[in-house]
């Protein structure tokens, strides 16, 4: 292939990715080692890294939109949350009569808010396959509508970012409303099972961990494939000089829309995997701050490199997990300082640092 001649640095990055995935893959095995073994991985680390993997998928999806297509979405958290809500609705339906009121169909919150019957938009979510369809379809549809409106009107850059931020903010306010029939502020919790497997057991956690890891690898390969094709080069071209691409005869609206929708769907999948692992989904996931944080993961790791997004998601979240208990009063300074330092001194992120070493 003349067109895809990966540089040595790029090959190095792929090696990093393969190593990372391999290490993650044996986490549950290392967990079985006796606690005093140096290679022992604690239960907590296994469960929390399952969550980080979901964040990494979100970061990958954002990198596809931002790093390659130049669409800086400050509302990607909304797609993540919508995927999570779709999964949450499925999990709520699966509780069935095991809720604290014993109602055969209605979830607890509907019972004590006095609902008589299930709202129409809850229908179908008792089927796993339907719910999984919705996990990608709802974020995809939202991205399609919003993207079509914005890209067609040639809203780019800062304007686009602020519109996407307004979108997630509006969704957050809307989802906080109890009248939405989606649990309001409390959202969904107290899930019981998924695919016949009781949640809150070690086995379930390991299954979800591997499911997330597989999704991460699949997303990575998907992004790798996309960016390796001519389509990926069109995206890069759009990112750097959109109007020039138009003069070459490419309808950039449809190209951007395709990437944006694909990215939103990936974010939705990440959200769906995230919810059963953390055991809760509520409108807080729509908060604009969450979406900005996701952008920061990508920036810290290095945008436009895929592997950077993954590294960023793991390192920032790992740091956060560690610092919120090691320095509960000071962690915001460390994290805030990190963001400042990365934007100032590492415009290419941690990956840029690695590449610099490689040279």
């Amino acid at each position: 292939m003349d067109t895809a001649q990966p540089s040595r640095a790029r090959l190095g990055l792929r090696a990093v990715m393969i190593t990372a995935v391999a290490i993650l893959a044996i986490f549950p095995l290392l967990n079985q080692l006796p606690a005093d073994n140096v290679f022992h991985v604690s239960d907590f680390l296994v469960s929390v890294s399952g969550k980080w993997i979901c964040y990494a998928i979100l970061a990958l999806s954002l990198d596809l939109a931002w790093g390659y297509a130049g669409i800086l979405s400050l509302g990607h958290g909304a797609f993540f949350a919508l995927g999570g809500y779709a999964m949450g609705m499925h999990l709520m339906r699966l509780i069935g009569p095991r809720g604290s009121y014993g109602h055969p169909v209605l979830p607890d919150f509907m019972v004590f808010l006095g609902y008589q019957e299930l709202p129409w938009y809850w229908l179908g979510f008792n089927h796993f396959s339907f719910a999984m369809l919705m996990v990608v379809a709802i974020p995809g549809l939202l991205a399609l509508v919003l993207g079509w409106l914005c890209f067609r009107s040639r809203i780019t850059g800062v304007y686009l970012s602020i519109i996407t931020q307004a979108m997630t903010y509006a969704l957050m306010l809307a989802f906080f409303r109890n009248d939405m029939g989606l649990g309001g502020n409390n959202g969904f919790t107290d899930f019981k099972e998924l695919l016949g497997m009781p949640l809150n057991t070690g086995a379930a956690r390991i299954s979800l961990f591997y499911a997330s890891l597989i999704a991460l690898v699949a997303s990575y390969l998907f992004c790798l494939w996309i960016t390796g094709t001519k389509y990926g080069r069109v995206l890069t071209a759009i990112r750097d000089a959109e109007s020039r691409v138009r003069f070459l005869g490419y309808n950039t609206t449809s190209h951007k829309l395709f990437a944006f929708v694909a990215s939103a769907m990936m974010a939705g999948i990440a959200g769906a995997l995230y919810v059963p692992q953390v055991g809760i989904i509520n409108p807080g996931e729509f908060s604009p701050g969450n979406s900005i944080e996701a952008v920061i993961w990508v920036a810290v790791g290095g945008r436009g490199t895929l592997v950077g997004a993954v590294i960023g998601a793991f390192s920032v979240n790992g740091l956060k997990t560690w610092l919120t208990s090691a320095a509960p009063d000071l962690w915001l300074f460390v994290l805030g300082g990190l963001f400042v330092a990365v934007t100032l001194f590492l415009p290419k992120g941690l990956v840029g640092l690695l590449q610099g070493r490689a040279k």
């Binding site: 003349d2 067109t3 001649q5 996309i226 094709t229 001519k230 389509y231 080069r233 069109v234 890069t236 071209a237 990112r239 750097d240 000089a241 109007s243 020039r244 691409v245 138009r246 003069f247 070459l248 005869g249 490419y250 309808n251 950039t252 449809s254 190209h255 395709f258 990437a259």
Partner: protein, 245 residues
């Protein structure tokens, strides 16, 4: 002989009260080469913007063959067979020379088509031909961002060639080129002109003379004079505009 006739009549463009084009008329026949000259602010670039769909005219008719260009967007116009080389070369810095040309190669343009795209032998040959033509063979796999200004100009011309358009709009192709390069460009354009219509916007009158084609002079958004280079150079109005009052 293929191609369609470019026809502009009564075209006006107003930006916030400023008339960039004023009742402009222009006809370019299939296969014709035309040079457009005029002082700064005469409306040359705006005219190209109108033809390629970047700017919507406030009034007037713009057709290509029997198609109304004012109703189409840039991509559709480009796909009709109108290529453009910008005044300031805009190539895709993050991609290699080869990839830049590949993007421009005439092929289905939709996202799905691009995903499934495989560069076949014909396409590859064509890219190699053009790479040779623009003299960038040994830089084919370098990133376009590191090319010199002149090389970017060449690459941009190459990308226009890849599109294989019926009509080429060439904005200041020789700015920043050496004399030898300029000469080479003139030859290249002259050779193309047989198969395609070409509109060249240029300041360099020597270059225009070398092209040896009909010349249109714009001034303050309107057509000032039209004819052979000698004709327009002797036109008193043109002289006045160029030499000042």
């Amino acid at each position: 002989m293929r191609g369609r006739r470019l026809y502009l009549d009564g075209v006006s463009v107003v930006f916030d009260g400023f008339r960039a084009l004023n009742n402009l008329a222009l006809v370019v026949e299939p296969g014709e080469m035309r040079a457009v000259i005029g002082p700064n602010g005469a409306g040359k670039t705006t005219m190209m913007d109108v033809i390629t769909g970047k700017t919507r005219p406030t009034a007037g008719i713009v057709t290509f063959g029997d198609l109304d260009l004012t109703r189409m967007d840039e991509a559709a116009i480009a796909n009709l067979g109108i290529g453009r080389k910008f005044q300031k070369p805009t190539v895709f810095d993050a991609l290699t020379v080869f990839e830049n040309l590949e993007l421009a190669l005439k092929a289905p343009r939709g996202p799905i088509a691009c995903l499934r795209w495989v560069l076949a032998g014909g396409g590859r040959t064509r890219i190699e031909e053009v790479t040779t033509e623009i003299g960038l063979t040994d830089r084919a796999h370098d990133r376009a961002g590191i090319l010199s200004h002149g090389q970017k100009q060449w690459l941009e011309i190459g990308m226009m060639l890849m599109q294989d358009p019926d009509l080429m709009l060439v904005d200041e192709p020789v700015a920043g080129m050496t004399d030898a390069e300029t000469e080479h460009t003139a030859k290249l354009l002259a050779r193309i002109a047989g198969k395609h219509s070409v509109v060249v916007v240029e300041h360099d009158l020597d270059f225009v003379r070398a092209l040896g084609c009909k010349v249109t002079v714009l001034h303050e958004g309107t057509l000032l004079s039209e004819g052979s280079i000698d004709h327009v150079q002797n036109d008193p109005r043109v002289v006045e505009v160029y030499l000042g009052r």
